[in-house]
């Protein structure tokens, strides 16, 4: 039986199916990877397994025992530990104290002994201390033991989260994006670390990450989720070549546009936006570093790359929503690196964020009339209604009741009325049906005709590159490649590496066939095989012939089948 068995799990949030009939098996000693685009339901699945969320239907079994209805701390006591995507360390405690928390929580100490400082409590404290230090030592965290967790850089904080989870001596460790905010070398180090942790702590893992170089290296087996559904499963190498997975990640089936919209690049024009060495992030996390890019007047530029590669953060830094930490941003000949968002808007740089940034209670007409970033009233709404006739029909409707696509139209129409010099659009097509996406991309051409430059961040890579003149491929917080859109369209390998980590040599761990080199039996699943007598006889005969145990032979045969 498997260590963790998830069966037919479903969970909806207000009509949206976050998990749709998910089943998953995790075997003892396995590092199982869970991948999928944003919103695929990975973190939701974690929350259901740890008991933070209650599923609508389906079961979770752990070590042959149903977890349904158990509260989170009970599941922790059974041996399920986790780390968090958005770090959840106890910030006001030292690293050592952080690691001690699960140790006390699982112990039998009580407040009475603690308050009186009785010998029993002192003894338990010493035991917790030495165990915590042992865990910290293994993760090379001892030098930080007495530092407040909140004061550490993200790379270290992520390791402290793993240490804290391991201090529980869990059977199963759930890792939620442990590589987020790490650079390439740190990620490579993490992959090795996870392997070492598995051997040392005899723990099985379920790993969620966008960083394919980590997932490909660390995991034995992968499950791919998309829109709450199980899309594919298999070994890392198989998944990498699975067309369905490529489609989910790259939007290969993104709608074809009618005719070629992208014109020739206008090389002669001076750059409207010039970004050099930009770095930005949130709190202790530096999400992007050393970003260099340019947008010329009237040019359409696409930023593509995996989730978490830093595209959105870059846009936010450009429009002044978050502060740039290093580097320079020049717009229209002026330095706007440290300008506030309002003054940047007045200079003609407009940002349509993911989620569109509309006022849900206003009508379409009111929204468009408000479109006066410069302070002047909008004279006529006709230019907007010419491009989006559908909005003319809905002019009296409240924006919040429009469909997602119509809302995106309102956001674009509003930008069109203001006539900015540069428009930043973040994930225009997110959550929209393909036909609508096609329509929206066509309006990008209208912007170009009117001399408005556009910087797009897009999941539908192909559509974006078709409409764009130039493209930047983001990888791990910085620009990995830059080329004309035509070149990027021609050479897909440049893009795919960002999404699926093809550059990173996937480590193939050969499974040794002569028993003892294998991990110890505590880390193995028992599996009862029912064979017809003739097959069993054949197996035994062959084993006798070769003078080897039948189990070795069976493994060899299965292994050959797998390759």
């Amino acid at each position: 039986m498997s260590l963790l068995k998830v069966k037919d799990l479903s969970l909806s949030f207000g009509g949206v199916k976050a998990l749709d009939d998910i089943s998953l098996d995790l075997n003892r000693g396995e590092i199982l990877g869970l991948i999928g685009p944003n919103g695929a339901g990975k973190t939701t699945l974690f929350n259901v397994i740890t008991g933070v969320l209650r599923p609508d239907s389906g079961t979770v079994r752990f070590r042959k025992r149903s977890l349904n209805g158990l509260r989170p701390h009970r599941r922790a006591q059974l041996g399920i530990a986790r780390t968090f995507q958005n770090l959840q360390l106890f910030g006001s405690m030292t690293v050592l104290e952080n690691v001690k928390v699960p140790l006390d929580a699982l112990g039998r100490r009580n407040l009475f002994f603690d308050a009186l400082g009785l010998p029993y409590a002192v003894h338990a404290e010493r035991a917790a201390e030495s165990r915590a230090r042992a865990v910290l030592h293994f993760l090379e965290l001892l030098p930080f033991a007495d530092i407040l967790a909140a004061d550490l850089p993200v790379g270290i904080q992520r390791r402290v989260e793993i240490a804290r989870a391991l201090a529980m001596r869990p059977r199963l460790l759930l890792l939620d994006e442990p590589a987020a905010g790490l650079d390439a070398t740190e990620t490579a180090h993490l992959a090795e670390l996870l392997q070492a942790v598995r051997e040392r702590f005899q723990v099985s893992m379920l790993l969620v990450d966008h960083d394919m170089s980590l997932v490909m290296r660390a995991c034995d087996y992968l499950y791919v989720l998309d829109f709450g559904k199980l899309l594919a499963r298999g070994r890392p190498a198989e998944i990498r070549d699975d067309p369905k997975v490529l489609e989910a990640y790259l939007g290969m089936a993104s709608p074809r546009l009618r005719g070629e919209v992208g014109g020739g690049p206008k090389e002669e024009a001076a750059p409207l936006l010039e970004v050099t060495g930009l770095a930005a992030g949130y709190g202790p996390i530096e999400v992007v570093r050393n970003v260099n890019l340019q947008v010329r007047r009237g040019e359409v530029v696409a930023c593509v790359g995996a989730n978490g590669a830093g595209k959105t953060t870059t846009l936010r830094a450009l429009s002044g929503v978050i502060r740039a930490r290093r580097g320079r941003v020049r717009f229209d000949g002026q330095d706007i690196t440290h300008a506030g968002p309002d003054s940047i808007v007045r200079r003609g740089l407009i940002h349509i964020p993911q989620g569109r940034g509309l006022f849900p209670k206003l009508t379409v007409e009111e929204t468009l009339r408000l479109a006066s970033y410069s302070g002047e009233a909008v004279k006529s709404l006709d230019p907007a209604f010419d491009v989006f006739p559908r909005l003319a029909e809905r002019r009296r409707q409240v924006v919040g009741t429009l469909s997602g696509g119509e809302q995106q139209m309102v956001a674009l129409a509003r930008a069109l009325l203001v006539r900015p010099q540069l428009l930043l659009i973040d994930e225009m097509s997110q959550g929209l049906a393909p036909t609508l996406v096609q329509q929206l991309f066509e309006t990008i051409a209208v912007f170009r005709e009117r001399g408005i430059a556009v910087l797009l961040v897009e999941q539908f890579v192909d559509s974006a590159l078709e409409v764009a003149d130039h493209g930047y491929v983001f990888e791990q917080g910085t620009v990995a490649h830059e080329a004309s859109a035509a070149e990027l369209r021609a050479d897909r390998s440049l893009i795919e590496s960002s999404y699926l980590g093809r550059d990173a040599e996937a480590k193939v761990v050969p499974i040794p066939l002569n028993g003892h080199a294998r991990r110890d039996t505590g880390q193995m699943e028992e599996f009862l095989l029912t064979l017809p007598a003739d097959l069993l006889r054949a197996l035994q005969e062959r084993a006798d012939e070769q003078g080897r145990p039948a189990s070795d032979l069976a493994r060899e045969l299965l292994e050959a089948r797998g390759q």
Binding site: T50, V52, R71, P72, H73, A76, Q77, A81, R82, F84, Q88, L89, F90, G91, S92, M93, E97, K100, V101, P102, L103, D104, A105, L106, G107, R109, N110, L111, D114, A115, L116, G117, A121, V122, A124, E125, R126, A128, E129, S130, E140, P143, F144, D146, I147, P153, G155, I156, R164, A165, M168
Partner: protein, 342 residues
Amino acid sequence: MSRPVTRPLRNLALAAAAFLVLGWAPNLFHLPLDLQFDAALAVIYAFAILSLVLLTGYVGQVSLCQATFLGIGAYTAAWLFNVFHAPYLLAMAGAVALSFLLGIVVGIPALRLRGIMLAVVTLGVALVFDRYFFADHAFDWFTGGSAGWRVDGTVIARIPMDWIGHALNVYRFGLLLLLIVAVLVVNVHDSGSGRRFRAIRDSELAAATMGVDLTRYKLLAFGLAAAIAGLGGSLFPLAAGQVSPQPFNVFYSLQFAAFAVLMGVRYVPAAAIGGFFGAFVPTLLGRWHPWHLEIRYDWFQVALGALLVAQLIAAPDGVWGDLRQRVAHLLRRRAKPKVAIA
């Protein structure tokens, strides 16, 4: 790793020293009678603030009804003493037990609510007790009616403890209890239980996932905080000789929260400082006549508000927290990472 062993001993020694110094300091100053009463009141206030150190400082739960628990403690002790003629120490124990149970009841909403919503609920509890329970005739059996209870001639361990001529005895007795409870609360901070409490404050989600039973520890924190306040409240009849609803109204609850935040809600010593500050400063201000001006009590509240604003800007960790940090900085005791960050 000798730290965990010596800490409790060190705390005990510090508490003993504080008892000797603070306990007999009033004799040096020949305090007049009204200030003797204030000294006892300071200890009672310190209990209320100490309860907030545990509840808010450690566990991160807001409560705006700690004066109500003082009142529960005071009324229960006076009721047991007057109606059942219980020895006063036993009456105090009863007061602590009842406060603990009520605290757990008040803590139940905290399992679902946090922040401002929890503050509103506890404020509601304070108002209900303030305007209804302590004031309505339906509860005369418990509150002693509009005249309240009188508590006279109490003797604890053969030492006279009452408001007539023995206020300093009450003060010392209260101080002794306060220091004992304070040592216990400090011990909890560095222990496994304390870490569980603080884990809840920093991240409930992570705490639960690390095996901390949120329900149990939150309710425990509310119960213990109420018990501490109740213990302080049970000293009130000794110091004042009578019990009436006024000293336990909702404004005192708000003031205790203000004192706690001002002095540093995460630190036990801040409770004592806050208690003395809250009891003595208004009285002393009332005696001070700069340029023949009359300083009224309202001015104290205005000044308190201004101080709070100043503190939140200049020393967000409270007066004691700020002081601590400055001293630590001077001594350069803050550990620095010894290796480069890998």
